[in-house]
């Protein structure tokens, strides 16, 4: 059987140790000696007397305390946790959190790739060439899309710096990574489109 713990010795001192555990003292000399010694110490400690102040002390003490708190304001009831919500700082924090949430949702929605629609007038492509893709394909109905209307209204006043601060812009090098994932034919088509755009803009 294991020795008594400190808490069990304390219970034994106060007569609260269960009988099953108290029986250990009958068989264990070490625990029995420990119990006897701490009981003796407790007796010594209990017999220590502490001086009392003069009876006049109590009358003066109360008056001293009363005088000390005389200039204190009445104790105020501690506000509950909901009081924080009514502070101006909390209101602005909630508004800012909502704005960031809308920005993130809008930009995420804007970056979704729409399923490609088959072109109405597909251009006949030369054998082996990459079929041309109309970048505006499928966009005719976008203005009718209610979700897109929400996104547009949310980002109308969105500044680039705010979007970047929110972490929803393209990371540096992401364009390079995208180009590396293109096939050779796709890269050739991209180069042709860029060249045509540069010529058009006079660069």
């Amino acid at each position: 059987m294991r020795h008594l713990t400190g808490a069990e010795f304390a219970e034994w001192l106060e007569g609260e140790l269960p009988a099953a555990r108290a029986a250990h003292l009958d068989t264990c000399a070490a625990c029995r000696d420990e119990a006897a010694s701490i009981r003796a110490v407790l007796t010594d400690a209990s017999m220590v007397e502490w001086a009392e102040p003069s009876p006049l002390f109590w009358d003066h003490f109360g008056a001293r305390v009363s005088k000390t708190i005389a200039d204190e304001p009445p104790p105020a009831t501690a506000p509950g946790w909901t009081a924080w919500l009514r502070t101006p700082a909390a209101t602005w924090a909630a508004a800012a959190a909502l704005a960031v949430l809308l920005m993130v949702a809008a930009l995420w929605r804007a970056t979704l790739v729409a399923p490609a629609r088959p072109p109405d007038n597909p251009v006949a492509a030369a054998p082996g060439s990459v079929p041309l893709i109309d970048p505006l394909a499928g966009m005719e109905d976008l203005e009718e899309d209610a979700a897109w209307a929400v996104v547009r209204s949310a980002v109308d006043d969105l500044a680039w710096d705010d979007a970047r601060a929110a972490g929803v812009t393209a990371r540096p090098g992401s364009a390079d990574l995208a180009i590396m994932e293109l096939s050779n034919e796709e890269r050739a088509e991209l180069a042709r489109l860029l060249e045509a755009e540069l010529k058009r803009s006079g660069v």
Binding site: A10, L13, E34, V41, D44, S46, A51, E52, I69, P74
Partner: protein, 215 residues
């Protein structure tokens, strides 16, 4: 089995209520504050009735002072600490939720105030009147040698108590000299009942070691 410590006089769940008083939660203008229960006194204080706090002080000043004196056995220091306890209690009354007895709450403040004082780490005990102990009505007259030995032993015990770690010292003082039950001590010190009992044992074990070394 013989009990070494008598039953504590009151429990943690029973707020102090003078006999013959209806413990109504609020006091009307005509109701004597001295007869009100602790909860009514707290509410009266918050309502701006300072005299209600005077009643609280009068009701608990002895317990608070004695606790402080057992941490700093010097009258002036104990008095100052006890006053600090009540000032802090007054300021914090608005936060007293009533989930514990007012006495437990005051004890908690007192223990924190006492333990925060660095001077408490170095007792030597100086009694109020040069070593004369508190008198009992039925005390026998002892011879001078026995009194001297008794006084020296008591001084050694007090000094040893002052050397204990904070929680062990607080636990021992609250249990032995204020006769509080372990569950209430646990609430005061913010520990579990098991930890309180263990602290009590370890405090006694340390006292045993130190006192044996002095013999």
């Amino acid at each position: 089995m013989e009990r070494t410590i008598p039953n504590p006089p009151w429990t943690a769940a029973a707020p102090h209520t003078p006999t013959g008083v209806n413990s109504s939660p609020e006091t009307g203008p005509g109701e004597r504050l001295s007869a009100a229960d602790d909860r009514a006194l707290v509410q009266a204080c918050i309502a701006g009735r300072r005299e209600a706090f005077d009643v609280i002080v009068e009701r608990y000043q002895r317990q608070v002072y004695r606790l402080c004196f057992r941490f700093v056995p010097r009258h002036e220091d104990a008095s100052e600490l006890a006053q600090d306890v009540f000032v802090r209690a007054y300021r914090g009354l608005g936060g007293f939720k009533g989930d514990a007895a007012l006495a437990t709450w005051l004890y908690r403040i007192a223990v924190n105030v006492c333990l925060s004082r660095a001077a408490l780490k170095t007792p030597p005990h100086e009694s109020l009147d040069g070593g004369r102990s508190r008198e009992h009505a039925d005390r026998r007259i002892e011879n001078a040698d026995a009194q001297l030995l008794r006084g020296e032993r008591a001084a050694a015990v007090r000094a040893a108590i002052g050397r204990l770690p904070d929680k062990q010292r607080a636990t021992l003082i609250l249990r032995v000299y204020h006769e509080l039950p372990h569950v209430q001590i646990a609430g005061i010190l913010g520990t579990s009942v098991g930890a309180t009992k263990a602290n009590f044992f370890h405090a006694l074990a340390k006292l045993k070691t130190w006192l044996q070394a002095e013999r």
